[in-house]
Amino acid sequence: MSDEIVFTINGDEVKVDVPADVPLLWVIREELGMMGTKFGCGQALCGACTVHLNGQAVRSCVRPVGSVRGEAILTIEGLADGDQLHPVQQAWIAENVPQCGYCQCGQIMSAVALLEAKPEPTDEDIDAVMSANLCRCGTYPRIRKAIKRAAASMAAAKHGGE
């Protein structure tokens, strides 16, 4: 019996034929061939697998693909608008955040969700949300700075400024 699961990823509809309890992470990487979402722990402890499910940051390594039937997934590949990088990605570049870079797609996805929920995050807000994402290379100080920078540029854009 075919068990096709249909959902939207980065705006495109996809159909996958895998058991419903396969984690979304492996569907994204191995069925769809999209490698930006990373495997780090398989237990939702590190955040490298973070994607958005209907706008909320979730850890795809423990999210069964069957549970996203009909839902909208956003991955790092869908964040930029064509060539135009998301302000969070631009801030990450401006602050030279990444070192090895393996955790950074997950960090960015968490940060984008944070800023959508809290456009002017305090340090406590940043701590609360970003403590779900591990960085072995220790880029936390720069992540914090980049989030604040992105918040400022997003606020300025919203108010029609530069």
Binding site: V18, E30, N96, P98, G101, S131, G138
Partner: protein, 743 residues
């Protein structure tokens, strides 16, 4: 393609561990025939193994170092761009495959990239520049002295006439490579010393960056391993009958490292693995436990070890009645690397007797040798493709994952990707070995230290190394290499020669103390140990910088000035130690009042030819230390990219705090206890302090920064905790020890 390393290159080679790594013989440039061939086949001007210039002005450089976050992709680009007179951000980068002929023994580690390439890489770029100028002279029928290279062009001075490098490709390819080109003087630098944005960052924020785990090949299979419940227990029997019926499963392959389940998708392999029945044999480590090795260390502390330093008369000092005496035992655990990208490799053993391997590795030529040996193929039939590394820290030099991918691919005759789970990654370490260090010291009435007696017990890393054969050059026969490797290994393991990596950071003697002894026991446990960021320094700086602090307090002196005075006895030799120490003390406001429950600790350490000091500020909250601020100073000679240096020190601080506060690998019933980030934690955002890094402006020869930031952070933290609450934490990880001290 031949893979023979010349004898001349071998003589330039030092041992991989800790020493300066040699730089390939290709600084003499490509031969005329090679240049002509590249021009014809690829249309590029390539005077050496690093630089390729295309007619459309695209300039590519080949990175023969592993980019694992430390920024070599950018720093190497900067060295080339400086002498080649181009904008470094316009360089395209290729990751070098394993190639002895071109790059010698490729290994990235030991904080050696900058010091070993600073001059040689500039030489290859300067040679290319001079060839382009000479080519332009011919093309324009001009005098070379009227020409100069600028911004990717050769320009005629005093005119607007200029020729892009791309237009000179054919002519330049026909010129001979100058062996001693002119290098710029530092006052002429436009690129070196500036914070050029990292070249790898854009791909790392868009998901385009390719790590080893991201390799995809047509027809590729995934292998998941079933591991023994105790270290190295052999496979006795496998019943794969149920698993082989499951969807997508291709094969079940027993190996000496466990049983590989091979399927079209990794989730299929994982499910099938749950249905495989494995009978395991007896493990040689069945009785291994943390209690066991700790007891063995404690017993060894009671006996003299192999001497490393013995000056004056430490025993006589210890007998004196008129001195204040201190004794302390410091204990550091085994540590795992915990790279965020788990270990992985992809191998394709082909029917035509060749093999390709894709692996995130710090040592491509070791991977080549190991892969060829495992597959029983000659080296020249094997290609090792390099990828980006999701962290290295020393772990990615050991190629055990490469062995696994090769074994399985050969068995199933298809491309196979092996990706470890986090549990495997935590448990299958080449761990930083545990260290137990006893210090006995004394100070006299005036507060001057009189004696220092240090006994170190640790498992020798070099005695453990199983890849000596791989790092010896391949013009030695395989048999000879294997024999030399075994001999070296047994010398180290038996303690006949002291393992320099076990002693590094313990024998520098920066502090002037007359009666000084250091001895060492190589404790053979057999657990796989290896290089973990800053190696022996990662452990040895802790007892040294904690005990000097304890002596300072015993002498009723300020810990900063106590150190400074002892360093200043030979102020010239220790000018740079004093430099970083003074800088952090000043910037951290050493001596200023702190609120109740807050404390400051200081530490300095010299490692990998660089000097680093930290001041850590903690606040004790419910008897738990919270690190609020770290002030750091780094002296690494002439700085190539100040932002990258800063980032490396920030990262080392967090890496070191993770270990100092949280991390240990323990053993019970012959197995590693820890498995994932809940029991082998990494510092998180909310625990991360404010970090302020101060760079010493120096014109000394450039030295590395990958590791030097790490050793002084744990002792600075312990010293801060003492300052805050009067408790000496001598056993790491700190939070576990504080709980023990409370109980």
């Amino acid at each position: 393609m031949t893979t023979r390393t010349s004898r001349r290159t071998f003589i330039k080679m030092g041992m991989a561990a800790g020493g300066a790594l040699m730089f390939g013989c290709a600084s003499s440039g490509r031969s005329a025939a090679e240049r002509a061939e590249l021009l014809e086949k690829s249309g590029v001007f390539s005077p050496n193994a690093w630089i390729k210039i295309a007619p459309d002005n695209t300039i590519t450089y080949v990175l023969d170092k592993a980019e694992m976050g430390q920024g070599v992709m950018t720093s190497q680009a900067m060295l080339i761009a400086e002498e080649l007179e181009i904008d470094p951000t316009t360089l395209k980068v290729e990751l070098a495959s394993a190639d002895y002929d071109a790059y010698g023994m490729q290994m990235t580690g030991g904080s050696t990239t900058i010091p070993t390439t600073y001059k040689p890489l500039r030489v290859v770029a300067a040679a290319a520049r001079e060839m382009l100028v000479a080519a332009a002279a011919l093309k324009l029928d001009a005098d070379e002295r009227d020409l100069e290279a600028r911004d990717g062009h050769v320009v005629v001075r005093g005119s607007s006439k200029k020729v892009p490098y791309g237009a000179l490709v054919e002519i330049a390819s026909g010129l001979s490579v100058p062996s001693r080109p002119r290098l710029k003087k530092p006052e002429e630098f436009k690129v070196i010393g500036t914070p050029v944005p990292r070249l790898d960052v854009p791909d790392k924020v868009t998901g385009r960056a390719g790590f080893g785990i991201d390799v995809q090949l047509e027809g590729m299979l995934h292998a998941i391993f079933i591991r023994p419940p105790q270290l190295d227990a052999p496979v006795v029997r496998v019943d794969a009958s149920e698993a082989m019926k499951m969807k997508g499963v291709r094969d079940v392959v027993p190996t000496e490292r466990g049983v590989a389940v091979v399927a079209e998708r990794s989730w299929q392999a994982k499910r099938a693995a749950e249905r495989v029945k494995v009978t395991w044999g007896k493990s040689a480590f069945a009785d291994l436990s943390t209690e066991q090795w700790r007891a063995e260390h404690a017993a060894l502390l009671e006996q003299p070890g192999k001497g490393a330093i013995d000056d004056g008369d430490v025993d006589a000092a210890w007998e004196r009645d008129d001195l204040t005496k201190l004794e302390a035992v410091y204990e550091l655990p085994y540590l795992a690397h915990a790279t965020l990208e788990p270990q992985n490799a992809t191998a394709w053993y082909k029917e035509d007797g060749t093999m390709e391997v894709w692996v995130p590795t710090q040592a491509p030529t070791v991977a080549l040798d190991v892969a060829a040996k495992t597959a029983d193929l000659p080296n020249d039939k094997v290609t090792i493709h390099q990828t980006l590394l999701g962290g290295g820290f020393g772990r990615r030099s050991y190629e055990d994952y490469t062995v696994e991918a090769v074994l399985v691919s050969k068995a199933v005759k298809a491309p196979v990707k092996v990706v470890w789970t986090r549990e495997e990654d935590t448990k299958l370490g080449y761990f930083r070995p545990s260290f137990t260090v006893r210090l006995r010291g004394s100070v006299d009435e005036s507060g001057a230290p009189v004696s220092w007696d240090q006994r170190i017990v640790s498992q020798s890393i070099l005695g453990q190394m199983t890849f000596y054969g791989a790092i010896l050059p391949d013009w030695l026969s395989r048999g000879t290499r294997s024999m030399l490797g075994d001999v070296t290994q047994s010398f180290m393991q038996s303690g006949r020669i002291n393992d320099p990596t076990s002693l590094e950071g313990a024998v520098d003697r920066p502090y002037a103390i007359d009666n000084y002894r250091v001895d060492f026991h190589a404790h053979a446990v057999g657990v796989r140990v290896g290089f973990w960021r800053s190696v022996g320094n990662s452990a040895n700086a802790f007892p040294v910088e904690c005990f000097i602090d304890e002596l300072a307090h015993a002498a009723k002196k300020d810990p900063y000035t106590f150190r400074r005075d002892l360093l200043a006895v030979d102020a010239e030799a220790h000018a740079r130690h004093i430099g970083v120490l003074d800088l952090v003390a000043k910037k951290a406001g050493w001596g200023e009042e702190l609120p109740e429950g807050w404390g400051r600790g200081i530490a300095q350490h010299f490692s990998f030819s660089s000097y680093c000091a930290h001041v850590v500020v903690v606040e004790m909250v419910d008897r738990v230390p919270h690190v609020r601020r770290v002030v750091s100073a780094i002296d690494c000679g002439r700085i190539i990219n100040p932002d990258i240096v800063r980032a490396q020190i920030e990262g080392a601080v967090i890496f070191g705090l993770s270990a100092a506060l949280h991390q240990e690998i323990t053993f019970a019933n012959g197995a590693v206890v820890e498995s994932n980030f809940h029991d082998y934690p990494i510092l998180r955002m909310h625990e991360s302090p404010e970090i302020e890094v101060h760079l010493v402006n120096s014109s000394a020869s450039p030295t590395g920064v990958g590791e030097p930031g790490l050793p002084p952070i744990a002792p600075a933290l312990a010293n801060a905790v003492f300052d805050a609450c009067g408790k000496r934490v001598r056993r790491l990880p700190m939070l576990a020890e504080l709980e023990r001290l409370e109980a």
